[in-house]
């Protein structure tokens, strides 16, 4: 059995979801009430691979909402309590979705292994970052040529290059894809220098300079609220993969020749009979589209790899990306592409 730990995108969205699910008391609750609410296992469902194998899954709402980010202890509690619930339900492998894995790493929750009477077993959890990184790279490889970008001649900027996903993307693009040049953008200088040395190349640039030069931009960073991008100063065409969380790049960059694609999203080969996940995830095709990190938990369960496949920072190897990528294709996942955005198939969307 696999699990997904997710959360609503805002307090308002959480209240709306509660209303739609028939919990009016929760829907009327304020932030303090949500801070006091325990995690809930809200849904069970089954998923059938393209190979025909069927596995059982559960969705746990951590009851975290991004408004809690400023409440240090509350955010921590939500993540740990949701993980404890997953373990107590005997779920073999659970993906930490959305802010869950970010909070886990930022707050160093590895040292909080004891939750009440439960000792968390880390091998039951995965950040899903390996699959996310592979999907993003795959999205670059498939979609750049579609808009006339030859990757062998292209400059690819990775914004947030030194993070767990960012560094994996850099490794893959330089060693597997073979792009002309990698432009490395991140806030801290030393990790950038370390990455450059590890890659044996790549140019460290400020964001502004990188954007002026990059044919492809991979964002694995959250965008500052005040960020604005002038499309006139970007190369045309330009492919932008929005791999950050939350995904709001399309509100910042649009215009002729700019193609923004939601990164790290996959589409399953068939509809999944889930209601809450469909409502919570806010996908264009909610019955079959999901975050790649969620899909990683499914893949690990399909493959019976019950281990913390993606864990800690900068441990994502090319071999692991190859393994999860092959599993992704075998079990019927497809990375979200530009064609599925520009020409949605209505029959599929409502199937």
């Amino acid at each position: 059995m696999f699990g997904l730990i997710g959360h609503s995108t805002s307090l308002a969205a959480a209240c709306e979801l509660a209303e739609r699910l028939g919990y009016p008391e929760y829907a009327q609750g304020d932030l303090d009430m949500w801070c006091s609410a325990p995690p809930q296992l809200v849904e069970n469902f089954s998923v059938t691979s393209a190979t025909g194998k069927t596995i059982e899954g559960a969705y746990i709402d951590s009851v975290f909402v991004p408004e809690m980010l400023r409440r240090f202890k509350t955010a921590k509690r939500k993540v740990l309590n949701a993980m404890e619930l997953a373990q107590k339900r005997g779920i073999a492998i659970t993906a930490l979705g959305g802010f869950t894995s970010i909070i886990f790493e930022d707050m160093n929750l590895l040292k909080e292994q004891q939750v009440r009477a439960t000792t968390l077993e880390w091998e039951r959890f995965t950040t899903g970052n390996t699959h996310t990184a592979w999907v993003i790279c795959h999205q670059v490889e498939l979609n750049a040529p579609r808009i006339g970008i030859d990757l062998a001649k292209a400059r690819v900027a990775v914004i947030g290059a030194t993070g767990d996903i960012g560094s994996a993307v850099c490794r893959w693009l330089s060693q597997r894809t073979g792009v002309a040049e990698l432009l490395l953008v991140a806030r801290k200088q030393q990790p950038l220098l370390d990455l450059q040395s590890e890659l044996g190349g790549g140019r460290i640039l400020a964001l502004e300079e990188a954007l002026q030069q990059a044919d492809v931009v991979v964002w694995v960073a959250s965008l500052p609220e005040s960020l604005s991008i002038d499309p006139a100063n970007l190369p045309n065409p330009c492919l932008m993969i929005d791999g950050g969380y939350p995904k709001n790049l399309d509100s910042k960059a649009s215009g002729a020749g700019i193609h923004v694609l939601k990164g790290g999203i996959v589409e399953f080969h068939r509809d999944i009979d889930w209601q809450v996940v469909a409502l919570a995830a806010e996908m264009a095709k909610p019955q079959r589209q999901m975050f790649a990190c969620f899909a990683e938990a499914m893949l690990l369960d399909f493959e019976e790899l019950h281990t913390n496949f993606s864990w800690g920072r900068n441990h994502i190897t090319l071999e692991k990306m190859e393994l999860i990528g092959a599993a992704s294709l075998r079990h019927g996942f497809q990375a979200l592409g530009l064609d599925s955005l520009s020409a949605p198939a209505p029959s599929l969307a409502t199937a």
Partner: protein, 257 residues
Amino acid sequence: MPTIQSITNAGSRAEVETSRDLAAGQLIAESSGDELPDFTSPVYKDAYSRINAIVIEGEQEAHDNYISLGTLIPDQAEELARLARMELKHMKGFTACAANLGVEADMPFAKEFFTPLRDNFQAGLRDGKVVTCLLIQSLLIEAFAIAAYHIYIPVADPFARRITEAVVKDEYTHLNYGQEWLKANFEASRAELEQANRQNLPHVRRMLERVAADAAVLQMEKSALIEDFMIAYQEALTEIGFNSREIARMAVVALVG
């Protein structure tokens, strides 16, 4: 020319924040509050005099309630008497905690604090309602105690921490006792459990509200107390046999009652 105008809160410096950095920046906005309180301050001792009294009174009443339950379930009287003895031992431990800090427990406050649940337990006892009595003592009060002890342990003085850590393990046994009995009699108990929940959970909510200010002095957050209580209570209801939708509806009274 630069095409990005990125204005951070601090000024006009262009800045890229990774998801992690962003979250970290937001998260550290609130102090982690890792420092322990000053156990010797008058403010702490004042708050402790009520919190400690509640704990002592709670253990005493738990003792009395388990003895009373033995009259309703005679074939379990021996086991219930064993549980009751454990509660008395806990009471002595917590009395020592107050002495250690030089605090006198405010027992009149604590007796009054438990009045609603005590009255409902006594009414149930008179009417021979085992299910109601088990819900009040073995689920609600035990879950309340488990939550309070869990949240207290990280911020307790070293003496009280050792005692509380030993006690909390016992309380799980007690929660488990009620849980197992109700599980074995689930279908026959369901309606009475739902009714007893409606009648008593709002009292737990009000008790948590009443104690919140004093708990805050001890660095125990109200939201953490409520959440921990609900986790223990919901877990028990799950084990007993309710489904998650039923539990969410039953438990919501603790959040907005």
